[in-house]
């Protein structure tokens, strides 16, 4: 075993440099004032005070959370039936459907989002078709609808695949047993399938909520310049305003929020299990 432990050493060094160090730098920036150099630290909480005392930022945070929750909920309600149908399909059909879900993920997210710009814009695909029937034009792009659509479109495969996996892992004999004990299809689903697929649902929620809450280029491209989410604020602090300290502080606040939500998810998961599950 010893020699294997030594083999892990380069990886440990790599992780320290590439993962832990940047994190520490973010923490350092968040708690210091602008204009530091390596030698002089001016430790301060000013960045955090600024964020929580400015109603604009809080408004943006609230909106970001709301968009993320809405996206996650939509992904869940649209994704669960899809996952269920795929899990029920047999052999070749199942493979084909899983493939159809995964293929878009092979293409860069940015490119796919650009495609939606083309579809939704004022002279885009939808409005052109509507124009043939003498309808529209409807303004689609740069609305809440467009942003949510873009997010759901980009993140729903994560939800579907997680739920699909937990559904296929489930032993079919549970359903036979439920049917044997008098449960019809709906009852079997509600009492057996749904509770047993909860772990998949929870990891699906995590996988969708995390990128949704911090996404910045989907709102930028589909929501337009005025549509600001917390991801956009962080981005602009780093890239346009050049205030790395404030950007780092917001990132840190987001990280804490995400950690809290992960903790709650875990807790819910545990409770689900202590009812008698695995």
């Amino acid at each position: 075993m010893k020699q294997f432990r030594n083999m892990a050493l380069p990886y440990i060094v790599w992780s320290a440099v590439m993962i832990i160090l940047p994190m520490l730098l973010i923490v350092m920036y968040a708690f210091t004032q602008k204009g530091n150099d390596v030698l002089t630290f001016r430790i301060t909480l000013q960045n955090f005070v600024r964020f929580f005392s400015d109603p604009i930022f809080l408004e943006v945070l609230k909106r970001s959370l709301w968009v993320a929750v809405l996206t996650t909920a939509l992904c869940l309600f649209l994704g669960y039936p899809v996952a269920y149908i795929i899990a029920q399909a047999d052999g070749r059909k199942k493979m084909l459907l899983v493939l159809l879900i995964t293929i878009p993920m092979w293409i860069n997210m940015l490119v796919r989002t650009y495609a939606w710009v083309g579809i939704l814009q004022d002279k885009g695909l939808i409005n052109t078709i509507l124009g043939w029937f003498g309808l529209g034009p409807v303004s689609l792009i740069y609305t809440d609808f467009a942003v949510i659509l873009g997010m759901v479109y980009n993140f729903i495969p994560f939800m579907i695949l997680q739920i699909y996996t937990s559904l296929t892992k489930m032993d079919k004999s549970y359903l036979e047993a439920a049917s044997d004990l008098g449960a019809n299809k709906i009852q079997s689903f509600l009492r057996i399938t749904l509770p047993l697929s909860l772990p998949g649902v929870l990891s699906g929620i995590t996988l969708v909520f995390l990128p949704a809450v911090s996404s910045f280029f989907i709102p930028k491209m589909l929501g337009g310049g005025q549509y600001v989410l917390i991801g956009n604020v962080i981005e602009s602090q780093f890239l346009t305003s050049g205030n790395w300290n404030f950007g780092s502080a917001i990132s840190l606040i987001m990280a804490v929020l995400i950690m809290i939500s992960l903790y709650i998810t875990k807790k819910v998961d545990k409770n689900g299990q202590s009812e008698g599950g695995k």
Binding site: S173, Y174, A177, A178, I192, L196, G276, G277
Partner: protein, 524 residues
């Protein structure tokens, strides 16, 4: 008793393969019925059709007189204990058992009463709040039984429910299941491949094979009067001897006439005679109805399983010529070479070729220092399809040469009328080293002598069960040795309490009631 379930000509096919070939079976109220058979016999398929998880391609399943084929499982008055229990992992023991009652929307206090009573019946009254996967296999088994029984079904189906338990627990659960069945007084349909389990628990056993019922009867019926050879062998190890029924109550086997209790066969009909090992007695040879030699004795815990051979099988003896046989050495080329003389059947000469000669002579050439194999370049021989001795010379490219003799003889085979079989082997030449280096001597002797045996009726292979020889492979010297190959003879397995010596000549005693005659046709 009332007929509760009737299977009428059930046929089921999977991927073009007939799994059930027209099953007709009646199951009565309060019966403990066991479907017994080897894996793949269709027993589980039949059970799943009754449970409603499969529908038959043809035929009807009548429950209390009405066809239930189109009824989904949840509408049947039948509950199942699944092979791997299928307890719901997201619920505790109590909720698992209460599942069916909650679905039926029974009042809460009624549910509680019933669940508690059922947990008590299976001896788990204190385990209600346990998680199911924290329980042992035996406990999970009990929960599964309670979960099914709490719904007060008319029939309980059990699909190999004891298969996953260890031997001791399985025995315990067998008794417990029987007890529970008597207590609740409903029909149990039990599926197993374990004949002992079937014999101890059932009121009625249904033996299945390849989707067909072989026999239906009580455990005693099935054990004592198996309908055919398959049932006899499946139910327990048994002696099954070919015989002829000369007339009612008289059977001939081993050329002797014996009285038996069976009647109703055609005159001189060929039959199988079944004698259970425990029905045979070993007595001094002059008192026995048959005489034989003890071949082996195995201690089985409570008794000895003694094999007595009344007639030895077909045998053939060949001579093995062993020589010192040092290889030919070619110092110039640095090569060594060897070959053996060999015997050849006159009828094989027509098909003889170089490769065949090299193989028979076991001709080899190798590098003297590296021991790498060198291919044989040339085989020179002249042979006529007549009895005689012919030389053959093998040589390599480098010019190393070795010669051997080919002895052409009539085929050496012996036929046995008694067993309708024939055995064949040839004399052969070997070197001391080859015998000393043999890893599996009996197999090698069979290969070297080309020994084989076959049935004269249908040419199917007959196993050579014994190889006898009179030398010690470790210390063998050049010379001639006898090797004998033998097929299996008439052997009887006898369960005895006394230990007999191998080689002892003994008599076998049995009464007319110990002979069970079965038709060769195989139907019941």
């Amino acid at each position: 008793m009332k007929k509760l379930i009737q299977f009428k000509n059930i046929v089921k096919e999977f991927d073009g393969q007939l799994v059930l070939k027209g099953i007709n079976l009646d199951i009565y109220e309060n019966e403990f019925v066991t479907l017994l058979g080897p894996s793949g016999c269709g027993k589980t398929t039949l059970l799943r059709i009754l449970g409603g998880f499969l529908s038959p391609d043809e035929g009807q399943v009548l429950f209390d007189g009405t066809d239930i084929c189109d009824l989904p499982p949840y509408k049947r008055e039948i509950n199942t204990v699944f092979q791997k229990y299928a307890l719901f992992p997201n619920m505790n023991v109590y909720d698992n058992v209460a599942f069916g009652l909650k679905i039926k929307k029974e009042p809460k206090d009624v549910i509680e009463q019933k669940v508690k009573r059922m947990l008590k019946l299976v001896g788990l009254e204190d385990y209600g709040q346990r998680r199911v996967n924290e329980m042992s296999g035996g406990q999970q088994q009990r929960v599964a039984i309670a979960r099914a029984l709490v719904n007060e079904p008319a029939v309980l189906l059990l699909d190999e429910p004891l298969g996953a338990l260890d031997l001791k627990l399985r025995k315990e659960m067998q008794h417990e299941l029987k007890k529970i069945q008597q207590e609740v007084g409903i029909t149990f349909v039990f599926v197993t491949h374990d004949q002992e389990e079937a014999l101890t628990m059932s009121d009625k056993i249904v033996v299945l094979k390849d989707g067909e019922i072989q026999q239906i009867g009580t455990p005693t019926d099935i054990y004592n009067e198996p309908a055919n050879e398959f049932v006899a062998r499946f139910i327990g190890e048994s002696n099954i001897i070919d015989g002829v029924m000369v007339q009612d109550k008289e059977v001939v086997f081993e050329d002797k006439h014996f009285a038996c209790m069976d009647a109703g066969f055609a005159p001189n009909e060929k039959v199988d005679v079944v004698i259970r090992p425990e029905d045979l007695d070993i007595v001094p040879k002059e008192q026995g109805k048959l005489k034989g030699v003890v071949k082996s004795v195995l201690f089985k815990g409570v008794h000895y399983e003694t094999i007595v051979e009344t007639r030895s099988g077909t045998s053939i003896t060949v001579t093995m010529h062993v020589s010192e046989g040092k290889p030919v050495v070619n110092t110039e080329a640095g090569e060594k070479m060897s070959a053996n003389d060999f015997y050849l059947d006159i009828e094989d000469i027509a098909e003889l070729n170089e490769a065949g000669i090299i193989a028979r002579a076991d001709a080899q050439a190798w590098d003297a220092t590296t021991e790498d194999w060198i291919s044989i370049h040339k085989v020179e021989y002249e042979i006529k399809p007549e009895i005689g001795t012919y030389p053959v010379t093998f040589s390599t490219k480098a010019g190393t040469m070795v010669s051997a003799q080919m002895f052409v003889r009539e085929a050496n085979r012996i036929a046995s009328k008694e067993y309708e079989e024939e055995i064949y082997a040839v004399n052969f030449f070997k070197k001391v080293d080859e015998i000393k280096e043999s890893m599996a001597l009996e197999t090698d002797l069979r290969t070297w002598a080309n020994a084989s045996a076959w049935s004269l009726e249908d040419d199917s292979a007959v196993e050579i069960t014994e190889v006898e020889y009179d030398f010690n492979a470790e210390t063998i010297e050049p010379g001639d040795y006898k090797v004998t190959f033998k097929t299996e003879g008439y052997e009887y397995m006898v369960d005895t309490t006394d230990k007999h010596e191998v080689g002892e000549v003994v008599g076998l005693l049995f009464g007319p009631e110990d002979l069970h005659i079965m038709s060769k046709k195989g139907s019941y």
